[in-house]
């Protein structure tokens, strides 16, 4: 019996062997080896086939250099960049949830006839408006322009204006056509169409997407600035028409209002302070909410306060990826766009389809408004999903950012993250493999700690 049990174990192990071997050779081995490396001064410039200097064991020196020694300036700076870029995570999660809610909403009961009708109307309206815009914005035929130039009626500079206009009209027609196609597709196939549409970016390779966005972000001729320019021109114009004090008063008013709201939120929280941990947690939530409100209000107020001054010089769209101030926000916006319709949205959709409809009906009879149904049914029911998404996104955020930095800015200092730092130390300059391994292990420690904290907080939230 014992013999046969051992035999069975051996057979089982034999079946597991390919996988086990792969894991040992390609995962566990390198991981442990990198841990060992992180305690050495191994650098390819010093230790290679042309030099016989032995690799030395240096204890925690690499870690010391990173955390408080000569490398700490870089390390903490890039750590800061990593955290900054993670601002996109909550925005993206909120976006995924919003999309999932929209896509999950029951489409209104429409028969087949009215569906075809809707698609037809959408396509017709699109076609007509595209044609109209094309006709209105496209200048006359080139020969006329040329004769006009020849006869001195218009200068060459005017001609460039025409050309810019034509490019814009093309962009406008394109945008309208895309919009029309989206509306028609939505009418024809309902939310399945939008689910596919929103998921598309996740199907395309990351780098291809980044290159696309790099084109969009081009300061001159990029689609984003092409759209922003006329808008900003209009704002400049409008701002100059209004006296400065109006704007400053507006800024003061907005901030005052927000401050009042935030204050009320906190005061109400204190007044309703329940007993025990739950009460404290609720108050903490209110304070966090108030702080967010204040920060947002402060931002808006600052912009309002200054806008008149800015407008005096004319508002210009930013040089996105090139300008240090805008590089990180540009990456965040791109990250949110790429991720919002991806896996998180699918997880939320799955979560939403698991909410028993009777809960909504009961809440509806209990007198809950749409927002209250979300707050008291949807959100608590989605807590486990949110929990999972937050944990995975935090891990991804701390690890990620390498491709973005590499592709979008070629590794400009403002966009360098820890992963990029690791790459740079290991595979560039002095090829310090020991130091790079230490970076990897510090990252691991941070991710591990962060995940534990998330688990502690999250299981309190979801465990009911």
């Amino acid at each position: 019996m014992i013999g046969s049990a051992r035999k069975r174990l051996l057979i089982a192990l034999a079946f597991l062997l390919p996988n086990l071997l792969g894991f040992l050779v390609f995962t566990a081995g390198p991981v442990l080896f990198s841990l060992a490396m992180s305690f050495t001064d191994w650098a390819l410039t010093k230790h290679n086939s042309f030099s016989s200097t032995p690799v030395r064991f240096v204890g925690i020196e690499n870690y010391a250099r990173l955390l408080w020694g000569d490398e700490s300036g870089f390390f903490w700076n890039y750590f800061g960049n990593t955290v900054y870029l993670m601002i996109g995570i909550p925005i993206g999660i909120a976006g995924s949830l919003g999309l999932a809610l929209l896509l999950n909403a029951k489409s209104s009961p429409a028969g087949r006839g009215s569906k075809a009708w809707g698609v037809g109307v959408a396509l017709a309206v699109t076609a007509i408006s595209c044609f109209g815009v094309w006709m209105l914005t496209t200048p006359g035929p080139a020969p006329t322009e040329l004769t006009a130039v020849k006869s001195g009626e218009i200068g060459l500079t005017d001609l460039t204006v025409f050309q810019v206009d034509r490019a814009r009209s093309n962009a406008a027609v394109l945008a309208m056509a895309v919009l029309g196609a989206v509306v028609a597709g939505g009418m024809a196939f309902g939310s399945a169409f939008f689910r596919t549409l929103f998921y598309l970016p996740s199907l395309l390779a990351g780098v291809a997407m980044f290159l696309l966005w790099k084109t969009l972000y081009r300061p001159r001729g990029g689609l984003i600035n092409a759209g922003l320019e006329p808008l900003l021109n209009w704002i400049t114009h409008a701002t100059k028409q209004t006296p400065e004090w109006v704007w400053k008063a507006g800024a003061a008013g907005v901030f005052g209002l927000v401050a009042m709201l935030a204050g009320l939120t906190v005061v109400n929280g204190v007044r309703n302070l329940g007993s025990g941990v739950a009460g404290a947690a609720a108050l903490f939530g209110r304070v966090a909410w108030a702080a967010t409100l204040l920060a947002a209000g402060w931002g808006v107020a600052i912009v309002l306060w200054r806008v008149h001054g800015w407008a005096a010089d004319g508002l210009k769209p930013p040089d996105w990826l090139i300008d240090p101030t805008y590089a990180k926000p540009a990456l965040i916006v791109m990250g949110v766009w790429c991720g919002v319709g991806g896996g998180n949205m699918l997880l939320y959709l799955a979560g939403l389809s698991n909410v028993p409809p009777e809960l909504y009906e009961a809440a509806s009879i209990d007198g809950a408004s749409g927002w209250q149904r979300f707050k008291h049914v949807t959100w608590p029911q989605l807590a486990p999903t949110t929990f999972f998404i937050v944990i995975m996104s935090t891990i991804g955020g701390l690890q990620g950012g390498f491709e973005q930095a590499m592709v979008m800015t070629g590794g400009a200092a403002e966009t360098r993250v820890l992963a990029f730092y690791l790459y740079e130390r290991a595979f560039k300059g002095t090829f310090e493999l020991g130091l790079a391994s230490a970076i990897a292990w510090v990252m691991f420690a941070m991710i591990f700690a962060m995940t534990i904290v998330n688990f502690r907080l999250g299981s309190q939230m979801t465990n009911d």
Binding site: L359, E361, A362, I365, D366, A383
Partner: protein, 379 residues
């Protein structure tokens, strides 16, 4: 409290599935009405239209003298108990009960008072701090009930609230529900597919089939005087026996003839009945009688003057129930009948025995699933 009036109510799902049609019903203030019928007959749909959870395709629903077709569920002054209870999983029992009151901005002391009262009424006071996850099925059911009670609505709506409980608990809770209704006297509409539940709970029963009302009456009247074969077959357990045949005349008396083994003299003493029967003479008809309309003994009501009510049937299976036994029999034509008779030892299975049929408790239906009862004894 309020009366509920449904006028020509109909429901069509997605412009193609018809679920309810021509539903007319007047529910009195404080009445306990039960919708009963086979699965898919439109009970839940009707209830949900009253609750406001489904749009009303046709007709009007009137609660307390107000047409509510376009009134939001929360403003209909109703409370509903769902089959799976639909308790809010992340709230304590207290909060589950208080939620609707809090949304209505009721003062805190009033909420506490009402929740406390409902909890006492239902015996769930010691559970108020628990989450639904930590409750048994029966306790959850009570909490769901409590959530409806604290609102003090004009109408209670129940959609199969007991069907997730085990058999014993279901019977106990049924009694408690009836008690509760007698104390609160709130107008109640109760959906079930369990005919026993319908019979025991309802002041009146609405028997439905295929989206239509078949009969509305008190439990006993529906049982004793079914308007058609469907109602007769649906209520009662074991179900009514049906035998095909025709009406013939022997002298002055109408007689039901089923094959060569059944010749039952029908009671035609009531005025009008004789004429009704005469009209159907010679046509194919169906005789219906409940299992307990049969007996082994030709005595008392089983021994009418004129007789002719003896049936010789082959017994196949005998199921003792205590002081009664259910006997499965086979007619000479090969049809299966069930007799519920007084229990006695050594009842012979697999023999041919003489049974007697109580002619006062038979029904005659026109053929077809919904064939009308032409011998419906007047109330």
């Amino acid at each position: 409290m309020a009366q509920v009036v449904l006028r020509n109510v109909g429901k069509v799902y997605d412009r193609k599935v018809r679920a309810v049609e021509g539903f007319n019903l007047d529910i009195r203030d404080g009445e306990f009405v039960v919708f009963v019928g086979p699965s898919g007959c439109g009970k839940s749909t009707t209830l949900r239209m009253i609750a406001g959870l489904e749009d009303i395709t046709e007709g009007t629903v009137d609660i307390g003298g107000r047409v509510v077709n376009h009134v939001h569920p929360k403003d209909r002054d109703i409370a509903m108990v769902f089959q799976n209870y639909a308790l809010y999983p992340h709230m304590t029992v207290f909060k589950n009960l208080a939620f609707g009151l809090m949304l209505r901005k009721m003062p805190k002391e009033e909420i506490r008072r009402r929740v406390g009262e409902a909890a006492r009424l239902l015996g769930i006071e010691q559970l108020l701090e628990r989450k639904p996850k930590a409750l048994s099925g029966g306790q959850r059911q009570r909490v769901a009930l409590g959530r409806a009670i604290v609102r003090e609505p004009q109408v209670f709506l129940f959609d199969e609230p007991l069907s997730n409980l085990d058999a014993k608990l279901r019977v106990v809770t049924r009694t408690e529900l009836k008690n509760l209704h007698q104390r609160l006297r709130t107008t109640t509409i109760y959906v079930t597919h369990d005919q026993e539940e319908a019979m025991t709970l309802g002041d009146r029963i609405v028997v439905m089939s295929n989206g239509r009302i078949q009969q509305v009456d008190t439990p006993l009247n529906v049982y004793r005087r079914p308007v058609n074969r469907f109602v007769a077959a649906f209520l009662g357990s074991p179900p009514m026996n049906f035998v095909e045949g025709t009406i013939a005349r022997e002298g002055q008396r109408p007689v039901f003839v089923g094959g060569d083994w059944l010749r039952l003299a029908l009671p035609a003493d009531q005025p009008g009945v004789a004429a009704d029967l005469a009209r159907h003479e010679g046509r194919p008809l169906v005789l219906g009688f409940r299992p307990n309309a049969m007996s082994e003994h030709a005595a008392g009501k089983f021994a009418p003057p004129g007789g002719g009510n003896a049936l010789r049937l082959a017994t196949t299976v005998v199921e003792p129930l205590g002081d009664k036994i259910d006997v499965s029999c086979q007619t000479p034509a090969g049809q299966r009948l069930i007799a519920r008779i007084d229990a006695r030892d050594n009842f012979p299975a697999g023999q041919t025995i003489e049974f007697f049929l109580d002619p006062e408790h038979v029904h005659v239906f026109e053929p077809g699933e919904f064939g009308p009862n032409i011998l419906r004894p007047p109330a």
